[in-house]
């Protein structure tokens, strides 16, 4: 197993290198650069930029260097924790990333846990209560859940909460806690706010996962070893949870690695509507303005999170299923 892990980590490293290169290339694709955007902005505000200033800025940001030089300048800072500087914010990228990415990961993983726990329960229920009215209702909800774009759901929920309860929701903290240091009170405030993005993000995913769970469980319930368990005299509850669910989980965990990208994606879009201090809004802005170090670093960290998530999912899979041997 350790040999496998080492190989896997080496593998991930290689993938990461490729991802970084490709990511950087893609970000650099648009013609022009941040400088032009910046100059345009200045001009729109009524100012003007002299040629000397332009040359100075270019040299400072290395904007005229060939692409491999830019890339090298960027990447060489990684081991030091230096990911370049953001043009629009005039701050080191590492600071911005640290603030924002943490919340992205927090929200995504919270959603993952809540979503999966709920999905397993719902999936088992609907598989064991086929053709009943609650099952039909659940199926209807699942279909609709998978059809609503997540940002639309966020919007609808916000409107509903505002109209019905007069609540103004959005953001992660109430104004008084936003800059305060972490405390129990702040944590509770966070809980009070975080449920909305978790619900919005997790809605479609829960629906999808519970349907897969239902389908898997139905397949497993047709298996011979379930009959064996019943023939032993085991109570139905044990047959379902100990024998069937354990086996139905296996193909589901295989998809665990695949749901992570979706979570990050969804989170980036939803955070624009909900005004969350996560990576989404900054990332998109950085793309549009070609703030390349910021955008590139975000992509880099997204990729890391995904690779680690996949690794964890594979380890979980091996733990669940004794048939899998990683030699």
């Amino acid at each position: 197993m350790t040999a496998y892990l080492i190989r896997r980590l080496g593998y991930m490293l290689v993938t990461l290198i490729f991802v970084t290169i490709v990511g950087f290339l893609v970000i650099e694709l648009p013609p022009g650069s941040y400088l032009e955007f910046y100059i345009d902005q200045l001009r729109q505000q009524g100012g003007n930029v002299t040629q000397d200033q332009i040359v100075a800025l270019e040299r400072r940001y290395g904007l005229n260097d060939p692409i491999y030089v830019k890339f090298w300048k960027w990447v060489s800072g990684f081991p030091r924790g230096d990911f370049g500087e953001s043009f629009q914010h005039h701050r080191p990228v590492s600071e911005l990333i640290w603030e924002r990415l943490g919340y992205t990961v927090l929200i995504s993983f919270t959603t993952l846990i809540v979503s999966w726990s709920l999905a397993i329960l719902v999936g088992v229920y609907s598989a064991t209560h086929r053709y009943t009215i609650p099952d039909y209702i659940i199926t209807a909800i699942q279909f609709v859940a998978m059809a609503i774009p997540n940002f639309l759901l966020a919007l609808i929920l916000m409107i509903f909460l505002q109209q019905t309860f007069g609540l103004k929701v959005g953001t992660l903290y109430s104004p008084e806690y936003r800059d305060a240091p972490m405390s129990l009170a702040k944590f509770l405030d966070l809980l009070g706010h975080i449920w909305l993005p978790v619900v919005v993000l997790g809605f479609a995913g829960t629906a999808w996962t519970s349907r897969v769970m239902r389908a898997n469980l139905l397949d497993v319930l047709n298996m011979q070893y379930i009959q064996t368990a019943r023939a032993k005299g085991a109570p139905e509850r044990t047959v379902i949870w100990k024998h069937a669910v354990r086996n139905a989980l296996h193909p589901l965990v295989m998809t665990l690695g695949m749901s992570l990208p979706g979570l990050f994606s969804g989170e980036t879009v939803v955070s624009t509507v909900l005004n969350l201090p996560t990576s989404g809004p900054i990332y998109f802005q950085a793309l549009i303005q070609q703030d390349m170090y910021l955008a590139g670093t975000f992509l880099f960290f997204f990729a890391i999170a995904l690779l680690i998530g996949n690794l964890l999912a594979d380890i979980l899979l091996a733990w669940l299923d004794p048939r899998i041997q990683y030699s």
Binding site: T15, M146, A147, Q162, A303
Partner: protein, 383 residues
């Protein structure tokens, strides 16, 4: 060919033999029968046909040109309709009221006064803005219009005074076709890469698999966003149509990997199967084996994957356009219409701006019904 006897009938002698031959229908026919039985599939299928017809006839069904900005009707509400005639009695003829706009100096916004005394009948097949039906046939005829020239806005107007209903239909043309084109690209590219990878194996397989893993290491929306941001701005050299196609390419860029992986697994399994051995022994070329033998066997799987990918594509385009990275003006799609609706106060005051969201949900639902039913029907082991 066996006759499909009524199964509850009591049969004797020779007939009893024929009844047992009921199972002899082709796989395709069995799939179609099972598919038809699924009520949701029927709803989905009919719903989609209706949607596509509606958006195809868009410019005719709407009363206004989708780009026309009516300065007198910014954020104008939907035109009220009544069936009660001037005589106060309920009838068949639809009427609307005269609407006039004035500026409220205190709140500093436009207010729309509805003059309930002055009824204006609605007319059908009226002359209006010029358009080209299906892009080919120039015409001025619109389905509904108001007598006297007042404009008809069944779903109100947006911030720039544009007819939401017209934009809904024209935007639908984009949103509903992007998925189809994207899926077609996914199928073609995914099948070829998957089949190649599985069949040839070795170095080519390794490279393709690494590329697939690379692509899958990116979260989709950020990747799409990065690629879409790389597209040049709209200009004479790069029209909205060009952008539309490149967006579909971007959407399918991530999608093909899933199909390729699954097909690779299938092809690797088929490679060891008897029918392929037989074809090889008969002297068939590799290309023939892939295209004439393996892919047709995998066709039901491919169709199901395709049908199930379309909702994802529609949602993807919607998300991208919503963020301002997909379809850009002057083109319109449901996603770009929703950009106007992203602020809660705006939507609360002008709820008709949310109708593109309803349209997206409906389209995705219908496709989901269809795809689900196809998957159940194509599975030979389901009841």
């Amino acid at each position: 060919m066996a006759k499909l006897l009524d199964k509850s009938a009591i049969v004797t002698g020779v007939d009893a033999q024929e009844v047992s031959e009921v199972g002899e229908l082709s796989q395709g026919r069995l799939t179609w029968l099972r598919f038809k039985r699924n009520k949701l599939a029927v709803i989905g299928g009919i719903g989609l046909i209706v949607l596509y017809i509606l958006v195809a006839l868009g410019p005719f069904l709407a009363s206004n040109d989708y780009m026309f900005q009516n300065q007198d009707y910014l954020y104008g509400p939907p035109t009220p309709i009544t069936f009660i005639g001037p005589d106060g009695k309920l009838g068949l003829r639809p009427y609307t009221f005269e609407v006039s706009t004035r500026l409220d100096p205190e709140a500093f916004k436009f207010v729309f006064d509805i003059n309930r005394e002055h009824r204006l009948p609605l007319r059908f097949f009226v002359q209006g803005d010029e358009y080209k039906l299906l892009g080919l046939f120039p015409s001025r005829v619109h389905l509904i219009g108001v007598e006297g020239g007042q404009r008809f806005y069944p779903l109100g107007a947006d911030a720039l005074g544009r007819d939401v209903f017209a934009r809904l239909l024209i935007g639908g043309q984009v949103s509903l076709t992007v998925g189809l084109v994207g899926v077609a690209l996914t199928i073609v590219f995914g099948s070829i890469m998957g089949a190649l990878s599985g069949y040839v194996g070795g170095l080519a397989d390794d490279i393709i698999q690494r590329v697939i893993e690379l692509i899958m290491s990116f979260p989709t929306v950020p990747l799409w966003a990065a690629l879409a941001a790389a597209l040049p701005p709209i200009s004479a050299d790069f029209t909205t149509l060009d952008r539309y196609f490149l967006i579909t390419v971007i959407l399918s860029l991530v999608n093909w990997t899933g199909l390729a992986r699954q097909l690779r697994a299938k092809v690797m399994a088929y490679r060891e199967s008897d029918f392929v051995m037989a074809a090889l022994a008969a002297g068939a070329s590799d290309r023939r084996i892939i295209f004439a033998h393996m892919l047709p066997n995998a066709s039901s799987h491919i169709i199901v994957v395709a049908a199930l990918s379309i909702p994802g594509m529609i949602l993807g385009e919607t998300a991208l356009s919503f963020l301002g990275l997909g379809i850009l003006p002057p083109a319109v799609s449901w996603g770009s219409m929703l950009t106007d609706a992203q602020h809660v106060p705006v939507v609360i005051e002008h709820p008709w701006l949310m109708t593109p969201g309803v349209a997206v949900i409906l389209a995705v639902l219908f496709y989901a019904f269809l795809g689900d039913a196809l998957r159940d029907a194509a599975d030979p082991y389901s009841i």
